[in-house]
Symmetry: C2
Subunit: 220 residues, 2 copies
DNA sequence: ACCTGAACACCGTTCAAGT
DNA sequence: ACCTGAACACCGTTCAAGT
């Protein structure tokens, strides 16, 4: 038994049973131990959830595609990072929303992301690639809100935080053509999952925007 | 006592004490009644939270600036809608994340937002303004992920879901210049709150993108 | 050193009983 | 018709006691 084993088990448990299902007592059971034993390794459930988020961040860094620093330019760097985060989000759809909902490590940071390591990698990479300080900060903000928005929605599609086996009520899902005629008529296209393509397109559009602001800042 | 009074009290309670603090027993207390009495008006806590989300959506619609249908073109329509949602999000920063975390009303919808009424208003408005079905659906996706990403981060800045009075630990907030030199150096610009300007800029950029895809779809 | 049993203060929710 | 008391099955967490 170890802290790492507890955190890993927690992530597995969330993947399998959803966030609301996670309980110290049930987690203990899965590890063949009483709940009270877990407190040897983590001080509280809150800190356990923080540790799960850390473990997700570490997983992004361990991704082959992600680089610690730019190699083929900042656009390539940000592309790899975005795809790395996306891959982790899709691997752990039920745990990923934690990244957005845990209280931040550095409250003065706008926006206050959890992982300072991640922010450091991001900013240092861009500055290294010739971004001014202001352009790097602006890029950080645009990039994080883009990633968060896309991935939270995409992850919700993959059955995010419905509980364990919430029977999906197909009746309620039926539009009721009278109240929502347009939704009803567009049901075909609306139920298509185009998230991969849209992610690419939006990322491309964002990088274009960043190129412009980068050059504006350099010109000053 | 009435369902409406219970839902309103729940929203007030979340605004004041944070989402984790909301308890049937404490909510009852605030209403001068035992927790069990609430079950006359709502079937469960889960449905109470759904009702809170509905109430937030209703608040957006009641906003003076928001229109039920386009009047001065679709760009004006989407601008008003975005600002209406933002205003509600900033008025209820601790409750707003519920909008993104409740299980969806229509699971087949990609992405599966909670309020079908909202989706209907959005799509019907754009189609009325000459969007093809496909362009309207694409716009729906780009627009929702933009709004969600921006507002969740902005709302997190305004002290979203820290519990009631989590003493903010300024020490932990200190960068520790050694581990995060860039974050530390950029602390000034990073702690400035520029969310309002950035919201405008990103919204503008999105509307430009939508104009392009709209015209592409019309040309087909 | 590591785990457990019992206990405490809380949850959401049900239901018979009170007014 | 509306609320309450008591109860049930759960929580997170502490701590003395066991091995």
């Amino acid at each position: 038994m170890s802290r790492e084993r507890v955190v890993d088990a927690a992530l597995e448990f969330i993947d399998a049973n959803g966030l609301p299902g996670l309980t110290m007592r049930r987690l203990g059971e899965q590890l063949g131990v009483e709940a009270m034993a877990l407190y040897r390794y983590i001080p509280s459930k809150e800190e356990l959830l923080d540790a799960v988020v850390e473990s997700l961040v570490a997983q992004v860094r361990a991704d082959d595609v992600v680089l610690d620093a730019p190699r083929d330019g900042w656009q390539d760097f940000l592309q790899r990072l975005a795809h790395g985060v996306r891959r982790t989000a899709l691997t752990h759809p039920k745990a990923f929303p934690l990244v957005a909902s845990r209280p931040p490590e550095a409250p003065w940071l706008r926006p206050p992301l959890r992982s300072l390591d991640w922010v450091e990698t991001f900013l240092a990479g861009l500055v290294e690639e010739g971004f001014t300080d202001e352009a790097a900060v602006e890029a950080y903000r645009a990039y994080t809100s883009f990633l968060l928005g896309h991935l939270l929605l995409e992850v919700a599609v993959h059955g995010a935080d419905l509980g364990p086996l919430d029977v999906l009520d197909d009746e309620t899902g039926e539009p009721g053509a009278s109240r929502h005629p347009t939704v009803s008529r567009l049901r075909g296209p609306l139920s298509e999952d185009r998230s991969a393509v849209e992610f690419e397109e939006a990322l491309e559009a964002l990088l274009d925007r960043l190129t412009i602001t980068r050059n504006e800042h350099l010109a000053d």
